[in-house]
Symmetry: C2
Subunit: 556 residues, 2 copies
C-alpha cells in the first residue's frame, strides 16, 4: 500500500536516481492478478455503451465520441459536459479549504489517490487506455499504468521538496538605532489558483498524473481537459480523486472534467479564462506553442512533439544496434513522443569488421522491421494499433512524397490483429532521403514513419541530427558510435540541442524507455515543450509565498 | 571576507529566516569607514564628467544622460553603447566555458564579485546611487548597498539549492525479461542562455544584484539594461564582474551593459531578440506587463509597481502607529515599490481610550508628516530627493484632482536641502477621498503622494484595501487593529490579495523594511510582478537538465 513512507523512499530514489518502483513491472506480477485482471476487464466492459456516472457542477449536456482503435467501433460512452464558467467558479470556491489543509494532509490524500488507482482501477484503466489510445495490453499496464503512477509519485516528491523549502514561521530580531525590533513572521503557501490540464489522445496518464498531482499537492484545483478521443482514463482518474476528496471532507470540485468535442473545442476558452492560473499541456506542437505564447497571466507547462533523431556512426555489434532501433521504431507504432524517427547515416558505418556501406545498413534496418512485424501475433504485441485515422492518411502522404524525392525502403501495410479483426493497424513506413528533403523529415511525423537520411560523414550526421532536434524539437536522441571522442562531442551537441541522449544501447530495454525517478523527460530547451518531468521548476512556480509579520508577543 | 563559508551561513539563515547579515548595517560600522567613505566619494567624483571606462563588444558610440537629483545638473558621464546583436553574439559565445565551469567555481567567483563590490566599491556606489536615484546617504548604504548585497547572496543560496537537487550522475539497473540492463547516467545542468536584466531608476541594485547573480550562478550570461537615468551603479557592477571573470580565465562578455536613451529605447528590441532566453524586469507596470505577455519563448521575472495599502482599524498606541506610518510614507519620498500609499479608515478608529473619529486620525497623520518634514536637515535624511521631474508633475496633477473631488489634508512643497541647494525635493501630498474617487488611488502614484480613503467600517476598509491590492498590484500591506479576529481575517485577505503583510508595527524599523534571508518580496499573485525574492521559482527555471545514458562499462 502506498503511503507517506512510499514518498520518503521515492525521495531517496529521486536523489540517487537509481532504479526503484513500488509497483510490479509486469501485469502477471500484480497482486492476485488472476482475479484482478479479468475483474478490471469486466469493469471496463460494463462501462461501455453507458453514460459514465460522474457528478460535476454546471452540467449542460453529455458528449462522447471515443472510438476503439482495436474495433474501430464507438465505445458508446458519454460524459457530462459542464459549463467552463461553472467549473472555474466551483474550483475557486473549493480552493481555500484545500490550501488550508497543509502539506501533509494533501500529500497523504494524493498518495492514497494513486494507491486507489493502482489497487482498485488499474486493469480497468489498462483496457480504457487500450480502447482509446490503442496501446498494447502490456504497454497500457506498464507505460500508461505503473510507470505513470511512478511519475505521479515523483511529482509529489518534488512538490514536497519545493514546499518544505519555505519555513512556516520565524522569529526575527534586529536592532534599529537604540531599540530592538522583534517580529514573529508567518509564511503561507498560496496556491496559484485553478489549473487546466490538457491530456493527449495516445498517452494521457503519463503526463496527466504528474501534472494533476503537482498542481493539487501545491494546493491548486485542477480542471482536466482530455482529448475527445481519450476521455475514459481521465474520467476514471477524476472520479477516483473526487470520491476521495469528498470522503475526506474536501470539496470534490477541486478536480473536475471538461469534456469537449472535435467539432466544438473548448481549449482556447479554458486557457484564456480569467480564472485560469496554470496550464499543463500535452499535445500538438502548434497548439502547445499557442498555449505558451497566450497563457499569460497563467503559467504554462508544455510537452508537445518530438522530432527524435538517431546518429548511427558505428557499432560494436551492428546487428544488435539495428535490432534495438527496429524494435523501438515499431513500439506502439512509433506513437510515443520519445519514438526515434530520423536515422542519420554517414556513407560508411564503422564496425569491428570494417566499414559497412550506408545502403547495407539501411537495408538491414528495413529487414529488421519487416521481420519484427511479419508474424501478426508478434506485430500485435509490439505495434499494437494506430490511434487516429489521420495517421494512416499521413503515412500515405509521406509514402508518395518520399517515393518522388527519395526511395521507399519498406512500405507500410495493414496487418491482421489476431484478437481484433477490425483493428486499425499499420506497419512502419521506412524511407530514405537526402538532406534536400529536410522539409519532410525535420519535424515530427506522428506515427510509424521513419526516415533514413544520407549524410556526408559521421560529423555531418551529428550536426544534422542535433540541428534538426534543436529546430524541430527533439525530446530524445540516440547515438551509436565506437569513437569515444565522437561520443563526447555528441553528448555536448545533444545537450545544446536540448534532447535527452541514449548512447550505444542495445538489448531488451526499449531505447526510449524513460524511468520515473531517474530519467528526465523533456529539457525545455527546444520546441518540444518547456517543462521537464520532474524538476523543481515543474512544481515551484505552482505556489507563492505570502507572509505576515507582527511584533513578537512581549516585544516593545 | 565573503566566501563559500558565507554562503553556507546564508543557507542557514534562509532556512530559519532569522536576522543575519555578514555586513554592518550602518556606514559608520564599515571597516575603516573614516578612510573608506571619503575615498569612495573621491572615486565617484573622479568619474564625473568623464567617459566611463568599460570595454564592451560591438561599441557603436557613447551615451549618457544622468542628472543628479541633488544638483539637477548632468553628471557628464558617458558610457559605451553597444550593438544588441553583438552583445547577444558575444554572450552566447561566452556561455559554454561558463556552463562547463561547474557549480562550485561559479558560486565562488560570484561571491567574490559581491565581496569586491562591498570592499572596493561600496562608497563609490553609495554616491552613484545618491546622484542617480536620489536616495539619502544612509539609504544608499543600507537599502541599495549592504541589503542589496544580501539579496544577491540569497539568490546564490537558492540557485545552489536548485542546482544541487540534480544528481550529477547515477547508476541504474533493471531487469527486462531475462536480461539485466545496467546504465550509467550523466545529468548536465544547461543554462537557458542569455538573460536581459532591466534595472529601474530609483532602486537599481536591490533587484539587479539578485537577478544578475541568479542568472550567472545557473550558468547563463547577462546583458544589463539600466534605466537611462541610473546607469552608473550598473556600470560599476558590470565592470567589477567583467574584470573578475577575465582574471579567472572566463570570457568577460558573460556580463555586458546595454545603455540606451529615453529618446531611443532598446528594451523591446532586447526582449524580442531571438537570443534572449531570460528577462528580469524592474520598472513600470505597463512595460512589465508587456514583458510578461511578450517575452515568450524567453522566461520573464518581473517586479513592477505597488499599490500599497494600509488599514487602520484600531491601535493600542494610536500616536505610535501614526508616527510609524508618517515616517514610512516620507521615507525616500515614497519612491520605493514597498511604500504605503493608501490609508483606508473606518468612521471610528478603535483605541484603548475609546473610538477616535476618522477626521481626527487623518489630521494627526497630516500633522505627523508635517512635523517630520518641517526641519530641513531632518527632512533631508528622510525624504532625500525626488528622482524624476515627472514625479513633481504627478504631484501637481493629483493635488488638483483631489482638491476638486475630496480635500487636501497636507500640501506638498519643496524643501530646502541643507547640503544641496539645487536638490529636487517635495514633501508629501496627503489627500482625503471617498470611494467614488477609486480611479485616482487604486493604482500606484509613484512618489510622495498619500491617499486617506473614507470607508464605511473596518470590514469595508479591509475589503477595499485588499480588493485594490489585488486589482492594482499591492506589494506590501499594513494593518493596525486591536481585534485578533479582524487581524486573522486580514491575514487571510492579504494573502489572497497577494500583498506581504505587516501588522501593528510601530517603532524604529521602517514599516516597509524587507530583510534579505527573511522577508519574501512580491508574491507573484497580483499585477505587482510575477517573481519573488527569493524562492526556488526565482532560480529553478533558469537552467535545464540534459541527460546522457549508456550501458555501464562491463555491462552485457
Amino acid at each position: 500500500m502506498l503511503d507517506l513512507a512510499t514518498l520518503a523512499r521515492a525521495r531517496q530514489a529521486c536523489a540517487s536516481r537509481e532504479c526503484w518502483s513500488p509497483f510490479p513491472e509486469m501485469p502477471n506480477k500484480y497482486p492476485d492478478a488472476d482475479t484482478a485482471a479479468p475483474a478490471g476487464k469486466a469493469a471496463f466492459e460494463a462501462l461501455l455503451g453507458q453514460p459514465f456516472a460522474l457528478d460535476l457542477p454546471g452540467v449542460t449536456g453529455r458528449a462522447g465520441e471515443e472510438i476503439s482503435p482495436y474495433t474501430q467501433q464507438p465505445l458508446g460512452l458519454t460524459y457530462p459536459q459542464a459549463d467552463p464558467d461553472r467549473l472555474f467558479a466551483a474550483a475557486r470556491a473549493a480552493l481555500p479549504g484545500w490550501a488550508a489543509a497543509g502539506i501533509d494532509t494533501r500529500l497523504s490524500l494524493l498518495i492514497e489517490g494513486l494507491d486507489r488507482l493502482y489497487r482498485d482501477h488499474l486493469f480497468t484503466l489498462v483496457h480504457a487506455v487500450m480502447h482509446t489510445a490503442g496501446q498494447s495490453y502490456n504497454m497500457a499496464y506498464a507505460g500508461s499504468g505503473v510507470n505513470a503512477l511512478d511519475r505521479g509519485i515523483e511529482a509529489l516528491v518534488y512538490a514536497e521538496q519545493a514546499m518544505r523549502s519555505v519555513a512556516p514561521q520565524a522569529s526575527w530580531a534586529r536592532r534599529f538605532g537604540p531599540s530592538e525590533i522583534r517580529l514573529d513572521k508567518t509564511y503561507r503557501l498560496i496556491p496559484r489558483g485553478v489549473a487546466v490540464c490538457f491530456t493527449c489522445a495516445s498517452f494521457a496518464t503519463w503526463n496527466a498524473w504528474p501534472s494533476i498531482l503537482a498542481s493539487l499537492a501545491t494546493g491548486n484545483a485542477v480542471i482536466v481537459k482530455p482529448h475527445p478521443a481519450s476521455v475514459l482514463p481521465m474520467a476514471i482518474t477524476v472520479r477516483v480523486l473526487r470520491d476521495l476528496l469528498a470522503e475526506r471532507g474536501f470539496d470534490p470540485d477541486l478536480v473536475t472534467l471538461c469534456v469537449d468535442t472535435v467539432a466544438q473545442p473548448l481549449g482556447k476558452i479554458l486557457v484564456k479564462h480569467p480564472g485560469c492560473a496554470i496550464v499543463d499541456f500535452t499535445g500538438s506542437a502548434r497548439f502547445g506553442q499557442w498555449v505558451e505564447a497566450n497563457a499569460h497571466p497563467a503559467i504554462a507547462f508544455t510537452e508537445t512533439s518530438g522530432c527524435n533523431t538517431v546518429v548511427l556512426a558505428g557499432a560494436e555489434d551492428l546487428d544488435a544496434a539495428i535490432r534495438a532501433l527496429a524494435t523501438t521504431m515499431c513500439l506502439f507504432s512509433a506513437q510515443m513522443c520519445t519514438s526515434p524517427q530520423n536515422i542519420y547515416l554517414p556513407p560508411m558505418i564503422d564496425t569491428p569488421a570494417g566499414p559497412v556501406p550506408r545502403d547495407t545498413v539501411a537495408a538491414k534496418l528495413a529487414g529488421a522491421i519487416a521481420s519484427l512485424t511479419a508474424d501478426p501475433r508478434r506485430a500485435a504485441m509490439i505495434l499494437a494499433t494506430v490511434q487516429s485515422p489521420q495517421t494512416l492518411a499521413l503515412i500515405d502522404g509521406m509514402r508518395d512524397q518520399a517515393a518522388a524525392r527519395g526511395r521507399v525502403l519498406l512500405d507500410s501495410r495493414r496487418y491482421e490483429h489476431p484478437d481484433f479483426p477490425g483493428a486499425r493497424t499499420a506497419t512502419p513506413l521506412l524511407v530514405q532521403l537526402g538532406k534536400d528533403a529536410r522539409d519532410l523529415y525535420a519535424e515530427e511525423r506522428f506515427g510509424p514513419i521513419g526516415f533514413v537520411i544520407d549524410c556526408d560523414s559521421a560529423a555531418d550526421a551529428l550536426e544534422q541530427a542535433t540541428a534538426d532536434a534543436r529546430a524541430g524539437g527533439g525530446i530524445t536522441g540516440f547515438v551509436y558510435a565506437r569513437d569515444e571522442d565522437f561520443i563526447a562531442r555528441a553528448e555536448a551537441a545533444y545537450a545544446r540541442a536540448g534532447a535527452q541522449l541514449t548512447v550505444n544501447l542495445t538489448g531488451a530495454m526499449p531505447l526510449n524507455f524513460a524511468a520515473a525517478y531517474s530519467d528526465y523527460h523533456v529539457t525545455g530547451l527546444n520546441g518540444a515543450g518547456n517543462a521537464t518531468l520532474t524538476t523543481l521548476a515543474f512544481v515551484a512556480p505552482r505556489f507563492a509565498v505570502a507572509q505576515s509579520r507582527r511584533p513578537a508577543a512581549g516585544a516593545a
